[in-house]
Amino acid sequence: MSYIAYLIGSGLLLWALIPLFKKDSTWVSMYLENEELEDHKKRVYGNIADLEFDYAMGRLSDKDFKSVRQSFLTEAGRVIEKLEQEASSELRAQIIKDTSVLGKKKPHKKKKNMCPDCGSKNQLEAKFCMKCGKELS
């Protein structure tokens, strides 16, 4: 009887080990810089919904309702503005990143235009080597 138990136990443990030997990849952290702002936005929206409910249920005077609602709306506006700012700054960062990649590609291309025979640099659009006259590919 006991060997069956050993067999089941070790079989299951081996099954758990399998992923360790497979081709692996890493995940990218999903934590967003603006998660806090998104939370804040949801919170203000929730607050406005609650406020309207409380008002309908008669828990707030007209005056309180108006002033508190206004303060929530201002708060919401502020948060949305910040989110947009972050989004645009993220976009800008992305553009800079992308263009820097493009920028890096240029010298790479230049490298490609080196003469395969003598190794001297040529202009991008040149078809023959300036020095030895060999055809450039």
Binding site: S2, A5, L13, A16, K22, T26, H40, G46, G58, V68
Partner: protein, 668 residues
Amino acid sequence: MADLGNILLFFLFPASVFTALTALAAGYTKRRGLLEAARRGAYVAFGVTTLAVLALEYLLVTSDFSIEYVASNTNLALPMFYKVVALWAGHNGSLLLWTWIVTIFSAIVAYQNRHKNNDLMPYVIFVMAATMTFFSILSIFISNPFDTLYQDLGNTLQEYAVPDGRGLNPLLQHPAMVIHPPVLFIGYVGAVVPFAFAIAALITGNLGAGWIHTTRRWALTTWGFLAAGIVLGGKWAYVELGWGGYWAWDPVENASLLPWLTATAYLHSVMIQERKGMLKVWNMTLVIATFLLSIFGTFLTRSGVVSSVHAFANSGLGPAFAIFLTIAALFSVGLLLFRAKDLKPDEEMQSLVSRESSFLFNNLLFLLATIAVLWGTLFPVISELFTGDQITVGPPWFNNIMIPIGLALLLLTGVGPLLAWRHTSAETLKRSFGLPILGSAVFVAILYFSGVKDGWALGSFAISFFVMWTIVFEFVKGARIRSKNSGDQFFKAMYMLSRKNTRRYGGYIIHAAMVVMFIGFTGNAFNSETRAEVGEGDTFELGPYTFYANHIHHAENENYSSETLELEIRKGDRIVTLIKPEKRYYFASEQPSTEVGIYSSMREDIYAVLSGMSNDGQKVIVQVYRNPFVKMVWIGAFILVFGTLFAMLPNLRETKSGKIVQESKGVE
């Protein structure tokens, strides 16, 4: 089969260690393969533990008396049903059940989140696996349910089997006792899930509302199971222990109440974090405290520390629990302190008369209650440590502190929902509270003049009336407004209203349940009892009732012998009912037990216990209690479970085209 079970249980140890280590490595390296391995580790732990539990069940059902656990907790004559549930009748089996539930929950959490929460999951699995490792050590090395019986033959030890077991403790042979431990354990163990997510949030720094949304249902489930487990324990004590009540502030009862108190505080204060971005550190503290108190509760009931500090040292379980608790507390509090600077509140409190301040008072009261219960429970241990003598604080001490706290909390359930967030003006206060206060005052006056003079009871009834009024008002007014806006019929409007915000209305249902239960608790103020020695044909009285001893008879079966009194309850000329209190003597365990006779109506319970035979053996001694409103406690518990389930339903939402769909966002 014992070998099979033992070996499979042994595999739990490497499986949980493997799971914990790969999970930790996955968190550090963010490698998918490692996380998948950790996830599989959790499944394996569940698999081997399930097989071990099945093996133990097989041994119990087939009455293999070479196994110490089987021999100590069952016997041949025990009904099959009780043989199956004897899995959690004793020490070692209970721990195995605890361990099994941890592995079940770990596997469920790992599976539920297999495609999401990648950042948190490694640490969530790590925390759960670490807990699993601890319980596997207890179950395998300290109190293993597969241990066999040995006899000492001079130089060698030899395995042997007894012809029949000692049987199941008679007190445990009751249906409520059958489901009470697993229900309570699910509540205890459930606390590990929010705890694991909170710790993962602290480790990774993902301190947004994500972990709260993910664990919302787990927190509610834990809370509901704890509540149901506590009430089931009370029900069992009521019908089985035969002292006339359902709650005695016993250490074991208190142990289950403690995590429930902090969990209730958390369910309230988390709403402030969601709405105001405040109390972030406090919420983490409550989640951590609930987990630690759950472990502490298990420790309290399993180590025997309260009966004597010496039992603690002798059992082997005590020190193990103490070490685990210390490590868990230091680790989690250390992490919390480390992250405290990132958990600053987003807003400040603006007014004392607001919904958020009522939540704060609520939390303060729950904190006070927790500290009081903890202190009262540990007082015998502390006094024994310092003075050498055990000084126990009894029910009066607890009642003096807990009744005012309980009533204040009940009052808040009525006041809180009527207050608006941020600020409520005096004018609206008058409008919201005027009528319910007036209504309660009239109600109390009626009660007073009809003869209820007990101050606490009057206070409790007044508050109950007030709270019930506000709850009914919430539903009715909400439904009216909705019905006006949408044109729905009143009851459909009420249904839609509550289904659109299940948490709010589920919460109200739970508050109503608490009111009903409090009416039941208040009934204790009017309890009365009498004791009589009766022979066949004798009568005695209690209140408006006359009790007539119809018949006394003796019976015997293979499990126990019994004396039963047939007691007729009469009110005036009318026969109300016949109850049969019984005294049993169980052969296998050589223990007596009482089966109470109860006549239960909405108004009161008539509760009769057969305490024994008179000296000459001709008469029986019967103790009769008249307990008003006890039924309300059980009815309240049913409403509470319903409210909890309702709060877990997904919200309904109306689309622009008027179609009704289920919301799934943010709720797990």
